[in-house]
């Protein structure tokens, strides 16, 4: 055993000898896990368990995703006819603003850090909980309070400024509830900062013995980079919103040129946060893809260090490109050139990731379960989204494409095709770990295909119509664009059906799904080494890590999953080759 394990020393993460496990085949008569060790509403509302908090985020963001989706449905339905099918002009403004604000601040930003980050980061690094469990709970409630302001803002009449809140739309000329929305942004931003602080502190201080930085799962690296952005970017938009609020309340001209202010300053400060914020939205998704791809290709990641550092690279360079949102807003030529150049630069780490993923797939033993289908969809769609981003980052082409549907299609390819698909991949990948139940294979794959087809047909026509010159945010358009819009709207409904499907089969699995077992996908991460659902403290004993996160070559070659606590009963269950064997016997037998 030692020979086999020590031989591939050329690997980065030299597998060392497995610890002699105390093998126990006894099943706990009633497995006490984080879901059933205590009951009652208060046990959820006052929990400091990172896993329960993760599930609370899951429920909340899913609800807001539905709100945002309904707003998107209104926008798309209205665009069926050139003059607007169902909404008045101001209603249309409010619908697309509601779609943008809800999807960004209440779904895309909290979804993976809040749900998967909370649930997985401590487990992946072998910790019992986040570094600051009470702060973690507080950040959920802070987020919920911020979300309530958004809901209130919708109830009292909605916002019509677009999600960017540019003055003077949001200061002088808006009579809608800018203040509530601003408060919502400020408060949810504070929650985002606290979550980020918690994750960074957890990664730095809570890693179990043997979990070196070079052995961190790439999801953790991605979450770390995301948290750095949240920590540095979010306070800037918070103070920007404060200044906007002061301008509205007092009537001084911070951003009003008539009173000596400058609206471009708002745009600078807004995008200083909001451009890095798109990396807050996409980086965790990229992290999920690393975990899913390696598992379903049964391979170590190609270029671990490159992928890990490219996350950090995106976080750093992402802070230097905000000006590309303002090429046509009146910033200087030379400034625009520098920003265009830096925008090209930020594409490099993203491309590194895509190339490494494809290289990981090369020669892998690929199976196409639902998480893998979502992950493959991510790679294709994100690549299209990323490359079209370069068109927009190039000064000359941006003059033509700025504020057209080309931009809409571009960022939906990265935000929806990227983040939404990564989120689905992650949700489907870790659902058995979270709930202990397995969902329907057929329906989950079908959902992946429906979402992919619906998505592609929604946004591909928008590239075309945007190139032809249809501006964003306009409710009316020339009749010759109608065919593109009808196609887009029809596909949006298909997409909507795709998003509804998981509610049914995942919900069904909770009640009637078969037990998933500890490690249904035979993945190597630490989180799979404990029971499903995990016990309240994640691990029976503090794990000891001996090798990197993706040793699928070793794991499959030995036909065992290296277990840290030595409990392999579930694998014995599922893999006939291993019935009645200990890891040691399995090694010698093969």
């Amino acid at each position: 055993m030692a020979d086999i394990l020590l031989e591939p020393a050329r690997l980065d993460y030299t597998p060392q000898m497995l610890p002699e496990p105390e093998v126990s085949f006894e099943k706990h008569p009633e497995h006490k896990h984080y879901l059933n060790h205590e009951y009652g509403l208060l046990s959820w509302l006052l929990t400091v368990d990172h896993k329960r908090i993760g599930l609370m985020y899951l429920v909340s963001v899913s609800i807001f995703f539905m709100f945002g989706g309904i707003a998107a449905g209104l926008v798309r339905t209205n665009l069926i006819t050139p003059t607007g099918a169902i909404l008045e002009l101001d209603q249309y403004n409010k619908a697309f603003t509601a779609h943008g604000t809800i999807m960004l601040f209440l779904f895309l930003i909290p979804v993976i850090p809040g749900v998967l980050g909370n649930f997985l980061v401590p487990m992946m690094i072998g910790a019992k909980d986040m570094a600051f469990p009470k702060l973690n709970l507080a950040s959920y409630y802070v987020w919920a309070a911020g979300a309530l302001f958004f809901v209130w803002q919708l109830i009292v009449g909605g916002l019509d400024t677009g999600w960017t809140l540019y003055p003077p739309y949001s200061s002088k000329y808006s009579h809608t509830s800018v203040m509530y929305a601003g408060l919502g942004i400020f408060i949810t931003g504070f929650s985002s900062i606290l979550t980020a602080l918690n994750i960074i502190a957890t990664v730095h201080k809570m890693r179990c013995p043997g979990m070196t930085w070079g052995r961190l799962p790439l999801f953790v690296w991605a979450m770390y980079a995301t948290s750095v952005i949240q920590l540095l970017g979010t306070p800037v938009i918070a103070v920007t919103v404060v200044m906007l609020a002061v301008e509205r309340m007092v009537g001084v001209g911070i951003f009003d040129p008539n009173l000596g202010g400058d609206p471009i300053l708002f745009q600078h400060m807004f995008w200083f946060y909001s451009h890095p914020a798109v990396y807050i939205m996409i980086l965790p998704g990229m992290g999920v893809i690393n975990e899913v791809l390696t598992c379903f290709a049964r391979k170590n990641i190609f270029g671990y260090k490159a992928v890990a550092w490219s996350s950090v690279g995106i976080a750093v360079v992402g802070f230097l490109v905000w000006g590309h949102h303002m090429f046509l807003a009146g910033q200087g030529y030379y400034l625009a050139m520098v920003f265009a150049l830096l925008t090209m630069l930020v594409a490099v780490p993203s491309a590194i990731k895509v190339f490494n993923w494809t290289a990981t797939l090369y020669g892998g033993s690929i199976t196409f379960q639902a998480p893998m289908l979502f992950a493959l969809g991510f790679i294709i769609l994100f690549t299209i989204g990323g490359v079209t981003g370069l068109f927009l980052g190039t000064l000359g082409t941006d003059i033509h494409l700025h504020d057209t549907y080309f931009v809409i299609a571009h960022f939906h390819y990265t935000m929806v095709g990227g983040m939404m698909f990564a989120w689905q991949a992650g949700l489907h990948f870790w659902w058995p770990k979270m709930t202990g139940k397995m969902y329907s294979d057929f329906w989950s794959r079908l959902a992946a295909i429906v979402m992919l087809v619906g998505f592609a047909l929604t946004f591909l026509p928008q590239f075309a119509v945007g190139y032809l010159g249809m501006p964003r945010r306009y409710p009316n358009y020339p009749p010759e664009f109608q065919i593109y819009n009808v196609l887009s709207t029809a596909a949006a409904y298909v997409q909507g059906i795709g998003y509804l499907m998981p509610i049914f089969y995942l919900g069904y699995s909770l009640f009637a799904g078969k037990a998933a077992g500890n490690n249904p996908f035979k993945a190597t991460g630490l989180e799979w080494q404990t029971s499903s659902p995990p016990s309240p403290h994640n691990f029976e004993t503090t794990p000891q890590v001996y090798f990197g996160p993706y040793e699928y070559a070793v794991a499959d070659g030995l036909k065992i999953i290296p277990l840290n606590d030595g409990k392999i009963h579930d694998i014995v269950h599922e893999d006939p080759d291993l019935v009645g064997t200990t890891p040691k016997e399995a090694t010698h037998g093969s």
Binding site: H204, V250, G251, G253, I254, L259, D262, H537
Partner: protein, 276 residues
């Protein structure tokens, strides 16, 4: 101190006290990073406008009460010393000294806030509040070759500012080298920057009071828990540091003299009634 040798009650999710204390410290530093960026945003906006409108910002600064600001600076610096002494007291297990120094810090911080409130009140009385309120004022204008007196609406702020500047700095001469709406912008920054700072002070004093209560109940009998005082002091020093930037940016960017500062302070606390 080696991590494994630190003793004390450990929270459920940590392996040992060393890990817990290191995490607590690290967490506060991370929080301060966020705070730097938070204040950085408004400092950045301030700087942009200061570069564009130097004369107007100078005029605005000249109208501020530099006397109170100077005294407040000393109060805050002294409170930084007392909280550092509190760490030392907790570290060596001197409970009495710990409580004394925490209380002193609270008192000094509260004195700062009291003077600050006084300063806001004086600004309010002088009418230095940005806003759109207007008053009717008689002005002489030329009409059809004749000079006539008519009533025009003038922003309240403009009149108040002119009076304050005349009284304080320019010996009664009209100083017209500024645009009142831009001075209003300066005052917006003055109120929001000092307001954010005051908010942080209030939170800090709240936390200090909580720690004082904990200290009374013997929470810091475990010497290793001095780290919580240390973390509190990090926050407190940060708030001081913000003030160290606010003082030159807001108060010292206009013309002031030390005798005028002393006079302003005397007036503020009622020792003098202003002999202009």
């Amino acid at each position: 101190m080696a991590a494994s040798t630190v003793e004390g009650p450990v929270a459920h999710h940590f392996n040992n006290m060393g890990q817990q204390l290191a995490t607590v410290r690290f967490g506060m530093w991370l929080f301060l990073v966020t705070e730097v960026l938070f204040f950085g945003g408004v400092f950045c906006a301030y700087t942009a406008y200061r570069i564009w409108y130097p004369k107007d910002f100078e005029a605005g600064s000249a109208a501020l009460n530099v006397g109170i600001a100077s005294v407040n600076t000393f109060l805050l610096l002294a409170s930084s010393l007392t909280i550092t002494l509190a760490i030392r007291a907790a570290y060596v297990g001197n409970q009495g000294g710990l409580m004394r120094n925490l209380l002193l810090t609270i008192v000094l911080g509260s004195a700062f806030l009291g003077l600050k409130a006084r300063e806001y009140y004086l600004d309010y009385e002088e009418g230095l509040m940005p806003g759109t309120a207007k008053v009717m004022q008689k002005q002489k204008v030329e009409q059809n070759g004749k000079e006539v007196e008519i009533e025009v609406a003038v922003p309240k702020f403009d009149i108040a500012l002119e009076e304050v500047l005349k009284r304080e700095h320019f010996k009664g001469e009209a100083h017209k080298d500024y645009d009142p709406s831009r001075v209003m912008l300066f005052f917006m920054f003055y109120y929001s920057m000092t307001g954010l700072h005051v908010l942080h002070m209030i939170i800090g004093i709240g936390l200090l009071t909580w720690q004082l209560i904990l200290a009374r109940s013997g929470f810091f009998a475990h010497k290793s828990r001095y780290v919580y005082i240390e973390v509190m002091s990090l926050y407190w020093h940060f708030v001081d540091m913000v003030w160290m930037f606010l003082l030159p940016l807001l108060y010292l960017c206009g013309p002031h003299t030390s005798s005028q500062a002393i006079e302003q302070f005397k007036m503020a606390i009622g020792l003098s009634h202003g002999g202009h």
